[in-house]
């Protein structure tokens, strides 16, 4: 009885406090540009999503150390999704109105991207999905609020296949080859398939579909199939703990690591460091950047953020692949606001709608990249009303047992194949949702 009474009073006290907790959202006094961060610091993707979140926040701190966006300070608030779509939607709803309104959202999950695509247009907040999300959202004519800046899955798939073609000595040599596709059995994984099927049709290789159920700790049956069928290459479109498990299982059935090629979510240090030298030769296609420990921006983050004890994550991971992806994501978010301020007033806080104009009219040339320390990390980016991707370059890096090294030159995807696919898919989406394409007059506001 006593026990119960204590419990009930604790619960009651908690409830009363909670009421005030929800009300006391810190009211920011100074001018801030709010960048919400949906994180995956727990759950099956934690090893990979944590560096992303740390990089994102660290770069925002660096921007503040540099004096903000023409004086407007950046503010980051995190919300944990654990890669679950329903929690992601809740986080989005929670953060979108805080601190004067969200500037842009990086969902870092294709499932959450699909769910938010329906919501951001109504809330007038852009969605940046660099390297993930809907590939067809590169078509700005239909997807006004989505920005798969600097690459999407079809670009990744095309780059991987082009790399394989280069190894074999040309597209013509792929005829009769068998290429396995180990993919996360979710929209994330399946988004890769259209480009593979398209290329398979053109060049006559046989794709071997290997769906891996999430979270991916149990993959024995898939790799037994690989052992039976002996594909010439296996492409991995995996994420989180699925990737190291896949590589380990591949090695266990005697499949050489050098024939495994990851897409850009399946080739980072957390995936390979436990395997170490055993996985020597493992390749992954990188969306523009890779691990960039020697770059200017990393040195600056170490000097301005970590040296002052304000680093978000461990110092050792600064400059790793996924950390850099967070940094690049933050850079794109901030550059869009810089661009928007050029039009709507320098030193002002941009609304989500104004920032969207910035993302649609990004023009980050080599000069600007050098200025902010991204030389050699990404190629120049130029977006437009029709093209929400900006640029599509990739490189392959290879694991040498302790770190990644570049093993290919820049690979440019064949946009003459990808663009019609993007357009066709976007049109289908528009007709399903009964949407009209944006008229040309909509492009300048």
């Amino acid at each position: 009885m006593q026990f119960r009474n204590i419990g009930l009073s604790v619960a009651l006290a908690a409830l009363t406090l909670a009421g005030s907790a929800i009300q006391t959202v810190a009211v920011a006094q100074q001018k801030v540009q709010f960048f919400p961060s949906l994180t995956g610091r727990t759950g099956p993707v934690a090893p990979n999503a944590t560096p992303f979140a740390n990089g994102y926040w660290d770069y925002m701190k660096l921007v503040n150390a540099r004096g903000g966006i023409n004086g407007v300070m950046t503010l980051v608030e995190e919300c944990e999704t654990a890669y679950a779509t329903d929690r992601g939607v809740e986080c989005y709803e929670r953060l979108k109105g805080r601190h004067g309104g969200a500037t842009v959202i990086h969902p870092l999950s294709t499932g959450i991207t699909f769910a938010l695509t329906e919501k951001v247009a109504a809330d007038k907040i852009s969605l940046i999905t660099s390297g993930y999300g809907r590939s067809d959202s590169a078509d700005g004519g239909v997807f006004k609020w989505n920005f798969p800046l600097i690459g999407h899955y079809w670009v990744a798939g095309d780059a991987v296949l082009r790399h394989i073609a280069n190894l074999e000595g040309g597209w013509g040599k792929l005829k009769g080859k068998k290429i396995g596709i180990g993919y996360h059995d979710s929209p994330f994984g399946r988004e890769l398939l259209p480009i593979v099927e398209e290329r398979a049709k053109r060049h006559g290789f046989t794709p071997l579909m290997l769906p891996i159920p999430a979270p991916g700790v149990e993959q024995k049956s898939i790799w037994l199939r690989v052992r039976q069928e002996r594909p010439d290459y296996v492409i991995l479109q995996t994420w989180g703990i699925m990737t190291p498990t896949a590589i380990r299982e591949a090695l266990a059935v005697g499949y050489p690591a050098s024939k495994l090629i990851g897409t850009w979510w399946s080739g980072a240090e957390p995936d390979l460091k436990d395997l170490g030298p055993a996985a020597r030769g493992y390749n992954a296609v990188m969306m523009q950047h890779g691990s960039s420990r020697d770059s200017d921006v990393v040195k600056e983050i170490l000097a301005q953020v970590h040296a002052k004890g304000q680093g978000t994550g461990p110092r050792e991971e600064v400059g790793d692949v996924l950390y850099m992806r967070g940094v690049v994501g933050a850079m794109l978010s901030v550059e869009g606001v810089f661009r928007a301020q050029e039009r709507f007033g320098k030193g002002k806080v941009m609304t989500g709608e104004q920032a969207r104009w910035g993302y649609e009219n990004l023009d980050i040339g080599r000069g600007r990249l050098g200025q902010i320390g991204f030389t050699g990390i990404v190629s120049p980016i130029k977006t437009s009303c029709d093209d929400h991707m900006g640029s599509a370059f990739a490189r392959i890096h290879t694991w040498d047992g302790s770190r990644f090294n570049w093993s290919s030159d820049w690979i440019e995807s064949d946009m003459s194949i990808i663009n019609p696919m993007v357009k066709a898919s976007a049109d289908r989406y528009a007709s399903e949702k009964k949407l009209a394409r944006r008229p040309a007059s909509d492009c300048n506001n």
Binding site: A46, A53, A115, E118, P187, E191, A214
Partner: protein, 358 residues
């Protein structure tokens, strides 16, 4: 003192058989529902309406469905996520493929197909019981996960397996704002809650409960187990299917088979166990506990941390949320194994004697 039924005389059977025979109860519930419809949309902001109350209402509805099967008829099912998926995907197909299909009709069609699937997967219940049946219903879960991920027809040939709906409208009322969504879901919950309550009070509900308590005895007194069990599966999966349609159409807007994974089935079963087996009200309490508490903890813990001057990292909050939530489940089940609905009942008993207990 306030809560007494003294002087409320029932002079005919009709009065005696009301859902809420005590006037205070009746007025409280009617008042509460009225408040939910009229005042709540103004009191709560968009975040609470859209991100907390809408999923809470939809899962309450699903839990009512599961409760009919598990709590009233005693057939443990782990296929509820699958029935939600059937409801959502078939409603989507009805909505997209047939021009001019009204929204409510599409959702109900989803429910009808969920009924069919539910009855088919309920057939093993005629032979196997208890935990064995739970394992048999798992088949429904895995089958549906497979079907919606692999059979392109269900997703209208979407390459990623993710589907989206838009332009939701009921008789000229377009459902866009959080308030619209909240009211729409609340309407469904009230209508189906009332239907379910009346079903379980009626002859068919008594049959279910007889089967639950002892199926041999029930058969001896003339209840057909086949009919009773399959009707429970049918009603339950219909309601769960409708909830699935709402979850996809109203809450998510775009979804993938993962939204109705095995985790969803477990979640619904936990809602029923925590809320109270064999209680419509318990389903709602359970949904509140399972849906709202984690989100509440997630925001409350950093606040507590702030009070004592500790800044809690995002990951830590998430871990603490799981620990506190788990501890609370254990605590509730120890204190009241019959669920939150039973706690509510005890509270009412106490209130009856208040302020002069014996």
């Amino acid at each position: 003192m306030i809560y007494r039924e003294n002087g409320q005389f029932k002079t005919n059977y009709r009065d005696d058989k009301q859902i809420f025979p005590i006037a205070q109860d009746r007025w409280f519930v009617i008042g509460f529902i009225l408040l939910a419809f009229t005042v709540a949309p103004y009191v709560f902001d968009d975040y609470v309406l859209k991100a907390i109350l809408v999923p809470f209402l939809i899962l309450s509805l699903a839990a009512i469905g599961v409760n009919i099967l598990v709590g009233y008829c005693g057939q443990i099912s782990l296929g509820s996520g699958a029935f939600m998926a059937v409801g959502a995907y078939l409603a989507y197909n009805a909505f997209v493929r047939i021009d001019g299909m009204p929204l409510i009709a599409a959702i109900l069609i989803g429910g009808v197909f969920a009924t069919v699937v539910g009855v088919v997967f309920g057939i093993p219940s005629l032979r196997v019981k208890g935990l064995y049946l739970a394992v048999a219903t798992l088949a429904a879960q895995f089958f549906c996960d497979w079907a919606f991920a692999r059979i392109k027809w269900f997703t209208n040939d979407s390459t990623s397996g993710s589907v989206a709906v838009g332009g939701l409208e009921v008789l000229g009322w377009s459902i866009n704002t959080p308030t619209d969504k909240y009211l729409f879901c609340l309407g469904f919950l009230v209508v189906f809650g009332l239907l379910a309550k009346n079903l379980v009070r009626g002859a068919i509900g008594r049959q279910w409960m007889a089967i639950r308590d002892m199926d041999v005895a029930a058969a001896v007194i003339g209840i057909r187990p086949v009919y009773a069990k399959l009707s429970a599966f049918a009603v339950s999966s219909f309601i769960v299917g409708v909830a699935g349609g709402l979850w996809g159409f109203i809450h998510l807007g775009a979804w993938e088979p993962l939204a109705f994974s095995i985790d969803r089935s477990f979640q619904l079963l936990f809602i029923v166990i925590i809320g109270g087996m064999g209680s419509i009200l318990g389903s709602i309490f359970g949904a509140a506990f399972i849906v709202i508490l984690p989100i509440f903890l997630n925001q409350f813990l950093p606040f507590v941390g702030g009070l004592v001057g500790v800044s809690v990292s995002t990951a830590m909050v998430s871990h603490a949320e799981f620990m506190v939530f788990g501890a609370l489940i254990v605590w509730f089940l120890i204190v009241e194994p019959h669920g939150l609905a039973r706690l509510w009942g005890i509270a009412k008993q106490k209130l009856r004697l208040w302020p002069f207990p014996h």
